[in-house]
């Protein structure tokens, strides 16, 4: 006997939230990167309050998704890592921001 699935209807808007952006720690990282041009790993760590390992993990995910680009270099003998949002990352954050404004912006009766 064939089972007929009820019509699921359109997906809930919140279901389409970008989960890469939506995770709190990554959202924090993306927010700081959104308002600057680029930031050193150390600066991001201090601003977000994340540990080295934690930030490293989240940056890996963001880089894998194509939302951030990392540039490694040396200042004298000291290595550094600069992190910057890519165009995709900037677009993804902006889309997330607008989506949240739409979802949370209007209350009934107002």
């Amino acid at each position: 006997m064939t089972t007929v699935e009820p019509d699921a209807g359109p997906a809930h808007p919140l279901a389409s939230l970008d989960r890469v952006v939506h995770a709190p720690a990554r959202l924090m990282v993306l927010a700081y990167l959104y308002v600057v041009d680029s930031a050193e790993f150390l600066a991001l760590m201090q601003l977000t309050g994340l540990t080295w390992g934690n930030l490293s993990t989240h940056l890996s995910k963001l880089e894998e998704t194509g939302y951030v680009a990392l540039e490694k270099g040396f200042r004298g003998k000291k290595p550094y890592t600069m992190v910057q949002l890519t165009a995709d990352g900037r677009a993804a954050f902006e889309a997330y921001r607008l989506q949240m404004q739409q979802v949370l912006g209007n209350l009934p009766g107002k």
Partner: protein, 197 residues
Amino acid sequence: MSNTFSLKEIERQAWTRYFEDGLWDIWLGFMYLGGGLRSLTGNLWWYLLIAAGVLLLIGGKRWITVPRLGYIKFSPWRETRQMRLKIIVVAAVLLTAVLVFWGLRGGWAYTGWLFVLLVPALFLLMAYMMDFPRLAFYAILIAGTMLLTQLYGDPVGAYAQIALGLLATLIGLAHLLPFLRHNPLPAGQDTERYDHR
């Protein structure tokens, strides 16, 4: 950290943390200390303290502050704002030179009073454009110092400058020492602990 989390606030937070080192205060303190001592003892202290203040500000930012806080390249909006401020400061310095030259040549009798208005106004503008409220506090003190100088001349004006210089230097040190304590140089090399590949 403020409980307000908005994109505007976090950008401001990222920017203003670079003023927590107190180096701008020390620079201003040395400048006025030197100015006051110059009126009393001659140019040597002025040259020494001006040079020391500038070296401390530039060198301090490079070797003390940025290694502890990390480097941020701010947005074009912020960079443009700072560039406009630099242009205004350069224009103000040129105007000052012209007014001083004109005053020395027996120009307008109220040139001194013009400085009493212009210099604090410049510092107020810097406070606004740099998002650095302590400069507004210094602008008020500078206005008071210049007013005393204009009304009573030296040594009253010189003592007022020295007092301002000492106060600003102490405020700077009161910021610098906790800054060094709360922001130690990061241990180890960047890539030793961060290698996600």
